[in-house]
Symmetry: C3
Subunit: 460 residues, 3 copies
């Protein structure tokens, strides 16, 4: 079958971090994930990742997702592919795509179309290329009428060759048995004493095998990063691409500054995203919402007509018609039902908030099940932790919970119940009941005349 | 009299929203508003807006502000103007400006000067034009010594004509009776079977009427948007223009990222706006303030030397010398008097906060009248809603309100009064009095040795 | 000895502020500070700043840091340097660098290297120059084989001279005695009746003295600002330069929008800074932290692996492994020890928070000493101010402080103590003890059936 080898052994010294280069992130995902995803989307299910520097980080990330091969010494791209010979020998029927794990913008379309051409032309090897404005530094593709005559590196190119704008992406399709054969023929007789995969092209041509080139419509396939500036540049390309896709779908932006939207996020038409908003993971946003400014939303499913103004929400569900903010924190496993209104300085954690409930200000609801059309007073908190264990609060529909209440969990407050301001609720409250624990208010006349006597004298 | 017809019947399919194109917003205002405002600022008071797609949205927005005409079928710009014939017939004395409702950057100066030229030259029709760097796609203006010879569309232009950079903005002045006459002569004999207003030029010239062109100094008069990317581009042009005007007036920016300032906002010299700040509506900011980062200020009047650090304020007044933030929410109908200091996690709503009062942290004051030099303790809330009605709190000058208080409205706390931490104030407190409702603190020795005995064993 | 004269008398009218131009800030520091710092870094310790417009602002800023001379009338750059003749006469042994106080990007390297060349060539005067893409408006350098033949101003230059891209930065090295002599020879016989320092070059050459030019590798040495747009442009240059330096050091940015990092800030490798983050003053951040989005950090020392999500911190210390946010305010003189976790809507002020302590939500700790592994309940506040004086709270290791507590300072809560939700702690609590002041909870059945009877009827 057709299969892929992804080279992921590089270090990225100029990144100044003990992370293999393919594990650096673009829009929140490792570059290796971008490459793997493109392979999977193109229908390649048999994949081997070649690790090297800090290989255990890559293996931990991949788990059982695909095979890996370990390159103990770093002796060039050809040497890296040699480590996959057991993988290649296990299925020599089809073709093998070799990709760079740190060039994230290879796409499924390029993989599919280049494979089709590779097969249709009966090539032993097909280089994936791109035409770019500034080819400086890249290997140039020397085309012939029926294929290619080779790849010439920048340093070896003559003046005419330097003008060529079609360049080598570093990705190649090989007939699998030909790849195995060619790997046996490349040598390390060069200045760096490394085995270069590129050498397979000239060897193939010398052996009378067919070599072709597929020029991708996506010039970004060649982009990689050697340092943090390059990584920022990759992120910028990816950010703009995602933003453009959402605009094509009818999402609105007045100004895109500080907006970072990861690839998997879905947004409905008519929704407006305001500056400084970060949307991560599997977040899904409905239609005609206003999200931002300065929201952080992660793995959260949001309905239609939702307004989130300066809200952070994680791993939760927010239903249609909800209005939240500013300055609200929705922690994981919360479900905010239809038409709920949450004001400022509120935290919700692991709770269900029923339809139409209002939580206007300065409250914490954790591990709670709140009914419909409840009113939660300002300063009220669920006391869900006693130092030993967490317990739940339950509040019935239409309850009116007073200000600065402590609801000592586990506790059940019935429907339509009412609690007085300042109450600490230590027992269940029946439906329709009032709960109050108020002391006696004492008034001591003339108190500040005495207390502040000295201060007032001083200020004269 | 001189009058205007604004074409606002278009749909904007690629916006993916059921909104007429002129109702899409640039810096918070519908594009139609920009065009209407330019007409009004140029002294045109008699205006007819031609609606079509989702016409009721435009009619609802306009109210009684001007006349409207409805174009039931979309048969071209000429057909749209035909719908205004009753409007035109009602006053045929002067001239009529025809404008596009979705080209927001037409300006009063261009309207006035083009009208003057139109009248001075005795033209039947005067095209408003602009000279642009890239005229691709626009109709080119064919000048003669004494006026124009016509407008040639991109597709019909020869190589020489394609080099012309003076283009048709789609806005025209007509002598009103000539417009009525010309409308009667245009036909829909073209591929699209539409009536084009542009055809009036060639008909006028053929009839021996004078046609001229007025070249606007503002090349942005031609800009419009067909999709969300185009709308973002219009917003970007408008944003930068507003920012530049404020900089010319002495407003300071270290970095303009994420700053969105709507057109009507006024800012005094020496004020600094920090990134991520959104200023909307009729906001007025005084001199030498620091606003931002990440403020949202809407319809709020702010004095001099005010510092707002990460504050949202709506429909309120904030006097000179006030310092607020970070993380504060000022809701509508609040008046924050001179030299007030508000710290973090505070909400003010529909309240007067007297001069020099301090509200340092975690408080909610709603429906309240707070005197001068009051100190509001941390965690204190006005209990302004009992489930049935909202009531007011009143606090006298120099009062000292303790922490975590509940002030049960309606209630009056006298001047120089003092409330103990944790108090729930249910009755009025006289001037100079102390109010306290504290219970007895019980100490139970050795409690956690028993309570956490099991946990401590486990952790060994 | 070698010394420097900095010209800082200019006004900057188009800035619209009563601030001398060199006092306008670039990345938080006056431009004069940038110039002074470059001199000091280049080893020049004897410096005289010439003031003029609003001179007292500059004198107040400088204090005793260097000498100043006052130019009472503004009669040109030559006249400004004449005011320093007493300063120059006091040490005529070496060379004097004359610099513009409003061109912030002069650097120590340029100063050192130009001085070396000035001395090596035995010049009387050496102009510091730069080669720029667009020299329009600047004085052009006329080179000879052995030095320079003069500087020709834009308005006096012929076509060939206008093509010269090497321009005058306005900074010059002089042999000190030659400077004194040349100052005596310049006149104000020109249109503006001003004394120009540039004239010293032609006078020197006419007198047979050697004049040279040193071309800086840093073309930004010529940059200055005449208005707020220009000041924004200087800030943009400085911002990008600082960001690039951090990226070279291994700091990570997904998107730099709204990020402002002042020059003195230090950041360890592997740390990621998210959009909207402002880092000021002497802030130091360790390795592998995540800072942002929307943090404001000022003069704060932060360890490794710290996560700050939407936090403002001032003049504090935050140790390794701490996680804070979102929406937290750390006020001056706080020390957050190792592995502390602070959640949302928390203010810390002038407090020590011991290792591993948790403050999850809605709390204020001021003037407090909190032990290790303490748990602070939601809504709990330290009542550190009684209207007269501030006092401290002390909490022992492993204490469990309940929700909505008031800790009335001065007070000591012992280690492993436990306080009940809603408690107001007025006396010290022994180790292991429980403190509780709870009243009796009264339940009144059927309360809302009566209270809301009318409302419910109405809603039918």
């Amino acid at each position: 079958m057709n299969q892929a080898v992804i080279l992921a052994g590089g270090q990225g010294k100029r990144m100044h971090a003990e992370i293999p280069k393919p594990m650096f992130r673009v829009l929140g995902e490792p570059m290796l994930e971008w490459v793997l995803g493109a392979c999977e989307n193109a229908g390649l299910s048999r994949i081997c990742v070649v690790t090297g520097y800090e290989s255990e980080q890559i293996c931990a990330y991949l788990g059982d997702r695909c095979e890996t091969a370990f390159q103990a010494e770093r002796k060039g791209t050809g040497h890296a592919v040699m480590q996959t010979i057991p993988f290649l020998n296990a299925d020599t029927d089809g073709n093998t795509l070799v990709l760079c794990g740190d060039a994230p913008f290879i796409d499924a379309d390029t993989i599919r179309k280049s494979m089709e051409q590779h097969i249709a032309e009966g090539n032993s090897v097909t280089v994936i290329t791109a035409c770019v404005k500034d080819p400086t530094g890249y290997g140039r593709i020397l085309r012939t009428e029926s294929g290619i005559a080779g790849i010439v590196e920048q340093k070896d190119a003559d003046d005419e060759q330097l003008k060529i704008t079609e360049i080598n992406s570093g990705c190649y399709w090989f007939r699998t048995p030909d790849l195995i054969g060619l790997l046996g023929k490349i040598t390390n007789k060069n200045k760096q004493n490394e085995y270069y995969l590129t050498d397979t092209i000239s060897i193939a041509l010398a052996d009378g095998l067919r070599a072709g080139a597929f020029c991708s419509e996506n010039p970004d396939v060649v982009l990689g990063a050697n340092d943090r500036k390059g990584l920022l540049a990759l992120n910028t390309v990816a950010r703009e691409r995602v933003l453009n896709t959402h605009m094509d779908n009818g999402v609105s932006f007045v100004c895109t500054d500080g907006i970072i939207i990861e690839r998997a996020v879905k947004i409905g038409k008519g929704t407006e995203i305001l500056p400084g908003t970060i949307l991560r993971g599997k977040t899904v946003i409905g239609e005609n919402c206003v999200i931002g400014p300065n929201c952080v939303i992660e793995n959260t499913v949001i309905g239609d007509q939702v307004v989130l103004n300066t809200v952070q929400a994680y791993d939760s569900q927010i239903d249609s018609g909800v209005r939240i903010g500013p300055y609200v924190h929705i922690r994981p496993d919360s479900h905010i039902c239809k038409d709920v209104k949450i004001g400022d300085f509120v935290e919700i954690k692991n709770s269900e908030i029923g339809e139409g409930t209002m939580i206007a200000h300065l409250a914490y609801l954790g591990d709670s099940d709140i009914g419909k059309y409840v009113n939660i007073g300002c300063g009220t908190v669920t006391v869900n932790f006693d130092g030993l264990k967490k317990s739940r609060c339950e509040i019935g529909d239409h309850a009116f919970i007073g200000c600065n209440n402590n609801l000592i969990a586990p506790v059940v407050l019935g429907k339509d119940c009412y609690t007085a301001a300042g109450a600490t609720i230590t027992t269940d409250v029946p439906d329709y009941a009032l709960a109050i624990d108020r002391g006696t208010l004492h008034i001591k006349e003339g108190y500040t005349l005495r207390k502040f006597a000295k201060r007032k004298d001083e200020s004269k």
